[in-house]
């Protein structure tokens, strides 16, 4: 069922993209326009989606998505990355990665609070020191300057 829905998505994506690419222009007086190449790619995406849709139901793959603990761990990692991307511009790298690490260690590993905080602190300081100080990369800083 999921794969069938995805195949429909490919067809819709390919068709919508082809319409948009067409609006960019195909061939002009100076030769090929901006839309030609994406139009060809879009047609391939839509056509491949149609072919996959036409496959017999037995060939369609039923993905083995996680359940229970596995699902929570996967969601924990995604949540951690969302916090990281959303928080970094406001809180800086150090504070955001510290919070993210605690989320990861608590949801994914089910570590105790003490070991989660300790590990989060140590890994954040190590990464900040290695990349921010040693390699001179400009990591975002929070309002408090670190």
């Amino acid at each position: 069922m999921f794969e069938r829905a995805l195949n429909v998505f490919w067809v819709v994506l390919g068709a919508a993209s082809a319409v948009y690419a067409w609006s960019l222009g195909m061939i002009g007086p100076a030769g090929p326009e901006s839309g030609l190449f994406p139009f060809i790619a879009s047609v391939i995406v839509a056509s491949a989606g149609v072919v996959l849709l036409l496959r017999p139901a037995t060939v369609a793959h039923a993905p083995d998505f996680p359940r229970g603990g596995g699902l929570w761990r996967v969601l924990g990692v995604i949540l951690g990355l969302i916090v990281m991307a959303a928080g970094m511009p406001y809180l800086g790298f150090s504070v955001t990665s510290f919070i993210t690490m605690i989320i990861l260690l608590r949801t994914v590993d089910r570590s105790s609070w003490l070991s989660a905080v300790t590990l989060a602190f140590l890994s954040t300081v190590s990464v900040f020191w290695l990349f921010g100080s040693m390699l001179g990369m400009a990591l975002p800083r929070g309002p408090w300057g670190w």
Binding site: E3, L6, Y20, P32, L54, G76, A85, S123, L139
Partner: protein, 497 residues
Amino acid sequence: MMEALNGLLTGFGVILTPANLYLCFLGSLIGTLVGVLPGVGPLAALALLLPVTFTLSPIGGMVMLASIFYGAMYGGSTTSILLNIPGEAASVVTCIDGHQMARQGRAGPALGIAAIGSFIAGTLGVVIMTFFAPAIAAAAIRFGPPENFALMVLGLVCTLFMISGSTIKGVLMMALGFLTAAVGLDVVNGRERYTFGSVDLSGGIELLALVIGLFGVAEILSNVETMAKTTLLADRIRGLWPSLADWRASWRAILRGSGLGFVLGLVPGGGPVTAAFMSYALEKRIAAQPDRFGKGAIEGVAGPESANNSAVAGSLIPVLSLGIPGNPVTALLLGALIIQGIQPGPLFIAQRPDLFWGIVASMYVGNVFLLLLNLPLVGLWVQFLRIPYRVMFPVVLLLCVVGTYSANKNVFDLWVMLAFGVAGYVLRKLEYDLAPFVIAFVLAPLLEQSLRQSLVMSSDGAMILIKRPVTGLLLAASVVLTFLMFRRRTKTEGGLP
């Protein structure tokens, strides 16, 4: 011949400086570590370290990245043999006989023959590369936009021919790669495409965010799903040097693996993973007693481990001499060169001999470093396996964030990384091969430019692609391969490809 030897001397002149030797050693060290640790592949490691190389000279950066690539091939066998867990994909097949040898108390000779076979194959591969790459580049130097276009098409078709799983899914991934690369400014006239008014999208999708998402974050998501709360442990290893009987059984497999690996490395879509599998199949097929395979046959370790190392040298030839990557790792290396302002292709050797020959020479030196790192220090690498994955993955995830952010200092790239990470995780579950996507993404600007230049210079439209002999031949080969590919898949899958 003399030209190649002179070039090699130039290369050694470039590489034998303290700074470049240090970077080669560092890359070999990181590569071995990446190979040893399950869950961190060479592609993710290269993507993570790519921003670091921006601060280095082009030669230093490329030497480091290339040595991580071939270093991972060396290190990958350690966990395969000791724990039956492949450190990276090209060492999957080493698990079969390597781990059986370890269970029989012969882990030492298995590790020894893997390292020595890797060294012999890696060195042989570089020797062939030394003479072969300039010849290919010299032949391709007369190529114009139509020939470049046809060559890239053939490369993409070969990639599809070699992928595992559904061809149609591979074609779809390739087209999606083209579409994703179209986001941003048109390479020819600077017009915005697929940006929908977003300033962040006008710069295009960042290669690093895409690769780290697809291969770093997606890998972590897959691993945490089935994460066991155990620490990987291994017994003490004794007697690394193989016996005379081991040598007798292995030397032919090493040579065959070296040759096969090199050829499969050359073919787009081939590379170390395919080479290792094909070598194992070959050794089993020609063995006098095929039933020994799977029960600790040393040829089952020597052949594939040699093949995956030799394939690295082979796979660098098309990317350096033609500008066409055959697998995601070489696509990333191509991206790294482009970011440094260097365009690999037929003119690369003539225009930047220091860089080309420096990379070749560094591979000779790197192979020696890797032999030294992998044989005496195998005990040290085993200690790294004591780090539990639950401790390792949050740190790897932080490195993913730092690696992605540092490319453009733009938080938007983190969202891109997350989106591609989730997409990669789901698509892997549905058995979509991601290699055509990455290769198409990297090649798309070059392919589009070649196509448009060909059409502009043509007086009778697309016929230019058929009328020119080299172009016609390359496109005919692409059509034949496409036909064979679909016929093969239809036969084996008994329905639609």
